[in-house]
């Protein structure tokens, strides 16, 4: 039995689901950001998996777009952790429930 494209998509879907669960259900703010990173990774894998099902010239786009996604994820992590540092200085807590009141 050879490697099938559907296996890649199923793996990508499983990692995406775990990432969403981490991002929504964990209370620690670091885990929320790490869950978002995990979901972004899964989408990159899905892009590459679908690119390999396309013929010659079309398959390049699916291998270029993840590069942009990775760079945007870097920018997102940069700004996100700056915001975490800023809020942490006010609240002295990493529990996301204490951030629910945003009145400064």
């Amino acid at each position: 039995m050879e490697l099938q494209p559907i296996f890649i998509q199923i793996l990508s879907l499983a990692i995406f689901a775990v990432g969403i669960v981490v991002a929504i259900s964990r209370r620690n703010i670091f885990f929320v950001l790490m869950g978002i990173e995990l979901a972004l990774n899964a989408v990159n894998l899905s892009f590459v998996g679908f690119a390999k099902t396309l013929p010659a010239e079309l398959s390049v786009a699916g291998q270029i777009v993840p590069l942009f996604t990775i760079a945007i994820a870097a920018a997102e992590a940069c700004v996100g952790f700056a915001m975490v540092i800023l809020i942490f200085r006010n609240r002295e807590s990493v529990d996301a429930d204490t951030y629910s009141n945003m009145r400064g």
Partner: protein
Amino acid sequence: MLSLIYFIVLGLIALGAAVCVLLSRHPLYGALSLVVSMVSLAGIYGLLGSPFLGVVQIMVYAGAIMMLVTFVIMVLNGARDSKTPMFDKVSLFIFPAVIVLAGLIGFALVRAPLAFDATTLRGSVALTSQTLFDVAQTGPGYFILFEILGLLLLSAMVAAVLMAKKRLGSVESENTEGNH
């Protein structure tokens, strides 16, 4: 056959590390599990024939971004709230909702006819850079996106520095200056 074995091993490592992120209590252990997950995903990219993407994944994701994450966790002492419960009652509704969502998407994926194309191009460094920096008028035009991405990263860096620095002249910074 061999590629399937490699894929199963790397996929199990990636998925297991992702589950470790979900179940770990200390954020630093979660970050290290995330590094393992990203490195094995880079191996899958290489297996699928996109070696350049795998290298970028290791350098940028597992290197730069996770370095930032572990650095911030260590600076802020993120384990301080480790006594609060990891999950609350809302999580009870999230698990079935995500499982149902994954089941629906998986059903749609399984029904779709997918097959590897034999003429797929290998995403080597030469091909990727030629496509990315193809400035011909009839080209794909990725170089404009690339330059916009440079602007985005610069503005993100400036925003992060502006947000995370101590305000000069504020009570907080004057107190720390007085202590020194």
